[in-house]
């Protein structure tokens, strides 16, 4: 008998036969569209500053992974050609899982992002080419020039007038003012005053809450013009820095000088009211496919005018396709494995583009000397230097300083211009005086040393703006602003004895610091939609760190600390990301209580660090004691010795679960379905837990070695094409060494990592040890079979692993032991590796939002976590660990701080009841933090909000626009998060306080 095929089988067979023709037809339709549709052909040309057009050249292959079917497309001379089969050395090869995926890819209804995340498609080659192809196909699909409709009103923004902005509750007056921590402020909590007492801040806050971000091509266009006219880019040491300095000079010379109404500080990071910075040298082409749609995307839409979109599409992006950090590296190293693995999303992220910014300037030195003085020193050293590369480097420092001073001068002129424009009406006098004062200050600083608080803040802001023209706007930090500014405040107050005048000065200081914090909300980092899907909600994370001790070990809490804390209380901003140091020996309990009170009032900030854990961890890494004491957080939580430590702390997001999935599949990652890691054996043949342990660590070490190789390749590219001479000029080390910070010029040169989701690995290993190897209640084969099908039909296995296996955070000795041993192993492996600046790799255990991103992409785990569920944030017990808060706190506190020098994020969600006594809640929070630090805990952060409130906010985002939450190291507005992240926050274990 002959078995006839079913209808389905027959259909599949026919589709297989015709897939090639369908794909080719789709490409041909595109080619015809590009040729004949009006207004479309221009998208195939870049436009140089002189107006000449440059035709797009690029080649693409679309193939099934088994290479049984391939089609290609070639762009040249303003045409698109298509054909069957592959090509030699295409710019991009798009690989589809099978023929069905290939058909799906060419279906106009398909979202390629989803295919990418589901591993139905992957790519090899230049991402910018893929982005341009995607853009071209959108042009044809949507029509040229579409997508510029005005945005629909954002339901999360409050309507009406600034006066109607709700005034947040104020803390209670300080019951026990700490004598050693205040000198001039009348009352450290300013409890008698609310936001209504600072109408300017209220207006600026209203502006922050009501404005949508807009993509800003200003810097990108200037830099492109520079690049296309400056001639060949030199890559030799010193010369590449000078090239960068000249580029910065050009960008800052073109940069519009802006002072908004209500501004007390001159200058803006972008040309828009809230601008999204675009760094085409650092990967901005990723937004290319969204130029027509970004205004209408669901999460975090950006405004973009048709003119700006055209600028980016034709005058900027076409000239950076080969020339950003990633592509440069890929070309130099022939598309190395570490970068190909990075593009699979589930293993790790190499965030070198952002890491280059993760630090803070040496503000005390820069302010004390003034840029003129530093410029003079660079000039002197240039004369004395013998090597050409050093002379050129010192030249680069001078040019970048001149760029800043030139911008400052233009700000002064603009302030005068605005003042002159105000009519001779007495009503305008106050503002006119302000503008004249602004002009005076910008003529003085940052060239000369500031002498007042206002001058110091303006000097910082100008340099801060300029640093943002040099490097990606991710975690360029303010640092220890209370310590930096206190001397200027004291000087201001030295001549004032009248109490009323002192009160007025304190009032002005709060306004100034609040204005600086609000200034920092004038820009956002670029988040392409895939970022929204995986991460989202993060802003720049421009950390301000308060409290702790000075370099000499004396108490650093001062008037300026209380002043900033008051601004935090009123503004409740997600960024600057506020981090507070608590030094148990030196800082008062009053100060700690204030930090806890602010977490209650703002719901989620500041995060709190224990000096007694952080300082020894830095000393262990070779930091001088004085330098370790002078630490400030960067990005999320990462300790950085202020102004002398180039720590690249956000450089690597590493999924600790990936090596586990690989160990359970003999080196194959199940999502990728490829043998990527070493063969560590079929786990069914493991006879002891040691076998599993070794397999895990073998996979971990292999995968981390890929990370090191990839990161170091990228680091070498920084050295070749992205030195940062301005940062080097305001940093401690480069001047003496004659080296840019990217070349190791800083005093300390580590690389910080985030090892994501330790908890999920610990719980999984513990479940297997106890149930499979120790007790034999479950056999490995059954467990692995259950994992293959996400526990469906294996309810008893799922119950066993969730109910009978120990969980990290419950105090079980097994999970504690596994956690400690894993951290030891990770530490040993990381700290023995070296980066391109000569420093070691440092482990950290915070996750930003990557616990959700990696979780979405990862399979089911022996811990009982199902496919696609988020991992556990930071270094926190899982929500399934049914343990009281004290036990959880103890478990985390007992981890060895020396083994986590890039810090952790320990998340606690508290939900006070409506009838709880305010003081009692603050008392209890304070007691938890004190006990945590007594036990040696490193970092702790709160969300003080009930799951019920969060659920309500998910349903009614309009009423919760300002609901602040802490993810795993950074703050976000809850309503801007993707649904997965919102659910992860809701699912976090909630602890009551009474």
């Amino acid at each position: 008998m002959i078995a006839l095929p079913t209808i389905d089988e027959a259909t599949t067979w026919m589709l297989d036969q015709t897939t090639g023709a369908m794909a080719l037809a789709a490409l041909e339709v595109m080619a015809l569209g590009l040729r004949f549709k009006p207004g479309v052909r221009q998208h195939l040309y870049g436009v140089r500053p002189d107006g000449t057009e440059v035709a797009f050249k690029g080649s693409y292959v679309f193939t099934t992974r088994d290479s049984t079917l391939a089609v290609h497309a070639v762009f040249a001379h303003g045409h698109m050609r298509v054909g069957r089969g592959g090509l030699e050395r295409p710019n991009v090869t798009v690989r589809l899982r099978d023929k069905a995926s290939l058909r799906k890819f060419f279906d106009p209804r398909t979202d390629p992002l989803t295919m990418l995340l589901d591993n139905e498609m992957s790519f090899d080659g230049n991402l910018a080419y893929l982005a341009r192809f995607d853009h071209l196909s959108k042009v044809l699909k949507l029509g040229h020039g579409s997508g510029t409709e005005p945005l629909p009103p954002d339901p999360t923004h409050p309507p009406g007038r600034w006066e109607d902005l709700p005034v947040p509750p104020t803390g209670e007056a300080c019951a026990d003012p700490p004598a050693g921590e205040m000198t001039h402020v009348p009352e450290p909590h300013f409890a008698a005053h609310t936001l209504d007492d600072w109408p300017r801040l209220k207006r600026l806050l209203w502006s922050h809450r009501t404005r949508t971000a807009e993509l800003d091509p200003e810097r990108a266009l200037s830099l492109t013009e520079f690049k296309l006219t400056a001639g060949d880019r030199p890559t030799a040491r010193g010369h590449s820095a000078l090239y960068q300095a000249k580029g910065l000079h050009y960008v800052l010379a073109q940069k519009k000088a802006i002072i908004h109404d209500d501004d007390v500080l001159a200058g803006t990071t972008t040309s828009k009211r809230v601008g999204v910075h675009l760094y085409p040298d650092l990967g901005a082409t990723a937004i290319w496919p969204e130029l027509l749609t970004v205004q209408a995307r669901e999460l975090n839409p950006y405004q973009l005018s048709a003119a700006d979109a055209d600028t980016l599409n034709r005058r900027v992006f076409p000239f950076w396709m080969e020339d950003d950090i990633r592509e440069w590296t890929r070309t130099a190293a022939s598309n190395p494995l570490p970068m190909r693995l990075d593009e699979r999303f589930v293993l790790y992220f190499l965030w070198k583009n952002f890491a280059i910014s993760h630090t803070m300037a040496d503000w005390p030195t820069v302010l004390a000397r003034g840029l003129d003085h530093i410029h003079a020193e660079a000039r002197g050293r240039e004369k004395d230097a013998e090597a050409t590369d050093q002379r050129t480097f010192y030249r680069a420092l001078q040019v970048s300083i001149e760029a800043v001073l030139n911008y400052a001068r233009r700000l002064a002129e603009h302030a005068d211009h605005l003042a002159a424009r105000l009519k001779n009406d007495p009503a305008n006098d106050p503002r006119r005086l302000e503008l004249r004062e602004m002009a005076r200050i910008c003529r003085k600083v940052p060239a000369a040393p500031p002498e007042t608080l206002h001058e110091a803040v303006q000097a910082i802001w100008i340099i801060f703006v300029c640093l943002h023209q040099e490097s990606f706007n991710a975690a360029i930090c303010f640092g220890r602003l209370d310590v930096v500014l206190e001397p200027y405040w004291k000087k201001d107050l030295a001549s004032i004895s009248d109490p009323a005048a002192k009160r007025r000065a304190a009032h002005r200081a709060v306004e100034l610091c609040g204005a600086l914090m609000l200034k920092a909300t004038d820009h956002l980092p670029l988040v392409p939609d895939i970022g929204n899907r995986l991460f989202g909600g993060s802003s720049s994370d421009q950390v301000i760190t308060l409290g702790g001790v000075h370099a000499d070990g004396t108490n650093a809490v001062s008037d300026m600390t209380w002043i900033f804390l008051k601004a935090v209380e009123m503004l409740r901003l997600r960024d600057p990301n506020m981090n507070a140091r608590y030094n148990p020996e030196k800082n008062s309990e009053t100060y700690l209580r204030r930090l806890c009170e602010l977490n209650l009032l703002t719901r989620a900030t500041p995060s709190i660090h224990n000096d007694d854990a952080v300082i020894p961890a830095l000393v262990e890494q070779g930091f001088a004691e004085t330098h370790a004491r002078d630490w400030s957080a960067t990005g999320c939580v990462e300790p950085t010795s202020a102004g002398r430590h180039f720590g690249h702390t956000g450089c690597i997001m590493f999924n600790l679960v990936a090596p586990l999935e690989m160990a359970l599949h003999d080196g194959v990652h199940p999502l990728l379905d490829e043998q990527i890691g070493p063969r560590t054996g079929n786990p069914r043949s493991f006879t002891s837990f040691d076998d599993l342990w070794e397999a895990y660590l073998t996979q971990f070490r292999w995968l981390f070695d890929q990370v090191v190789e990839g990161n170091n390749l990228l680091g070498r590219t920084h050295q070749a094409i992205h030195p940062t001479p301005l940062l080097s000029a305001v940093f401690s080390g480069p001047m003496e060494k004659g080296l840019d910070v990217v070349d190791g010029g800083a005093e300390y040169n580590t690389t910080g990592t985030a090892l994501v989701s330790l908890t999920d690995v610990v719980d999984s290993l513990a479940a297997m040890k106890r149930l499979v190897f120790d007790r034999g209640e479950l056999d490995m084969d059954t467990l692995l079979s259950a994992l293959e099908v996400d526990f469906v039909g294996y309810d008893s296995v799922h119950r066993a692993v969730t109910r009978k296996a120990p969980k990290f955070g419950t105090g079980d000795p097994l999970t504690n032991d596994i956690a400690h041993r894993l951290m030891d192993a990770f530490y040993d492996h990381l700290t023995s590796q070296r980066n391109t600046r000569g420093g070691q790799y440092l482990p950290g255990y915070w996750s930003m939002s990557n616990h959700v991103a990696f979780g979405i992409l990862s399979g089911p785990l022996p811990s009982g976590r199902r496919r696609g569920e988020p991992f556990t944030p930071g270094l926190t017990p899982s929500p399934t660990a049914e343990a009281p808060l004290t036990t959880q706190i103890r478990t985390v506190a007992e981890l060895d701080a020396l083994k986590m020098p890039n810090n952790i994020a320990f998340n606690i969600k508290l939900a006070p009841g409506a009838s709880d006594q305010y003081q009692q809640v603050v008392d209890r929070m304070t007691a938890y933090v004190q006990a945590y630090t007594d036990l040696g805990g490193m970092q702790i952060q709160f969300n003080v909000v009930s799951s019920q409130t969060l659920r309500d906010a998910m349903k009614n985002p309009g009423s919760y626009g300002d609901l602040l939450v802490r993810i795993s190291g950074y703050n976000a507005y809850f309503v801007e998060l993707n649904a997965d992240m919102q659910r992860e926050l809701i699912d976090r274990m909630e602890h009551s306080l009474t």
Binding site: S796, P884, T886, I889, R924, A927
Partner: protein
């Protein structure tokens, strides 16, 4: 190990539970030790799993999947899904059915504990007690049933500067209590339910005479003491009882007492327990209203006694 230490080590009592991070049962952050066994049989007992001095298997019927693992595991063949093993006289209370249950539908209430181990576990949270003004609460059941053990435990904790609070129903032998336990506790919460002896007998199965005399003796010792009155609807919350208790407290020279509003959450708890606990007759399943509590407080205040928050 010395012979004394060895002897000490051998002495165990059953502990029903240790609740960490408790924010009730005294000031600050506390750990509460629930001893097993109580001399009273209050009809509304909110911790019925602590009544018996013996271990018992508590079931959560809603988690049972009727997989019958318990049947296979039971050495005396009495365990069944949906039945309470300890109703059968052959049940050894060995807990094998608990270990075998894949769903966690069974819990063995009553873990043998040694003083040293328990003191060690409790001292782990010492920084939380110290920073919050909290400590350890001995509760139950009735800790004074095990005065020797509880006293040694309290002494150990006191050595570690951990304040110990005792919650008692007041029914205990004074001599043993005074010798073993009293010297080591910082604070005593003394429950007084009913002033009238006949009503006390009906509701708790015991006369209140010894309870009242213990209270008087305790007052005489000058211990830090708080009398607490559980407000049980239709049993203790009437004007006659509350007024009488307040007068009695006043006659002892005390200035205040605390009221404990009834909490109905215990009702489902007794379903999975042995016959003795299941047989508790009281079944009031509502919370007291704020007005009810305020009315009770007013009655107490009317007698010149403050009501603690």
């Amino acid at each position: 190990m010395s012979t004394t230490a060895a002897r000490t080590r051998r002495r165990q009592v059953l502990i029903a539970d240790v609740k960490r991070n408790s924010l009730d049962d005294g000031p600050g952050i506390r750990s509460v030790v629930f001893f097993k066994g109580c001399p009273l049989r209050c009809s509304w007992c909110q911790n019925p799993e602590t009544l018996s001095t013996r271990a018992e298997v508590q079931r959560s019927p809603e988690l049972c999947t009727r997989c019958e693992s318990c049947i296979t595991a039971c050495p005396t063949h009495v365990a069944r899904p949906g039945t309470d093993v300890q109703d059968a006289t052959r049940c050894q209370r060995c807990g094998r059915c608990v270990d075998a249950c894949p769903s966690g539908a069974r819990r063995l209430v009553g873990t043998p504990a040694y003083v040293e181990d328990l003191a060690h576990l409790l001292a782990l949270d010492a920084p939380f007690y110290r920073r919050s003004g909290g400590g350890v609460t001995l509760s139950g059941g009735e800790p004074t049933l095990h005065a020797g053990f509880a006293g040694r435990l309290a002494a150990r904790l006191a050595e570690a500067q951990i304040p110990v609070l005792l919650e008692t129903c007041g029914l205990f032998g004074w001599t043993s209590f005074e010798r073993h336990l009293l010297p080591h506790v910082t604070t005593i919460y003394f429950d007084l339910k009913l002033a009238d002896d006949q009503r006390h007998r009906e509701a708790t199965g015991h006369s209140n005479r010894r309870i009242l005399s213990n209270l008087r003796r305790l007052v005489d010792t000058g211990s830090e003491l708080l009398v607490r009155v559980p407000l049980v609807p239709d049993i203790t919350d009437d004007a006659e009882n509350l007024t009488a208790i307040a007068r009695h407290v006043r006659s002892l020279g005390l200035a205040r007492l605390a009221l404990l509003p009834y909490n109905p959450l215990w009702i489902p708890k007794r379903q999975g327990l042995a016959a003795g606990a299941r047989a508790l007759p009281y079944s009031h399943d509502r919370w007291l209203s704020d007005q009810d509590v305020a009315r009770c407080a007013d009655l107490v205040r009317g007698e010149g006694i403050e009501v603690s928050p």
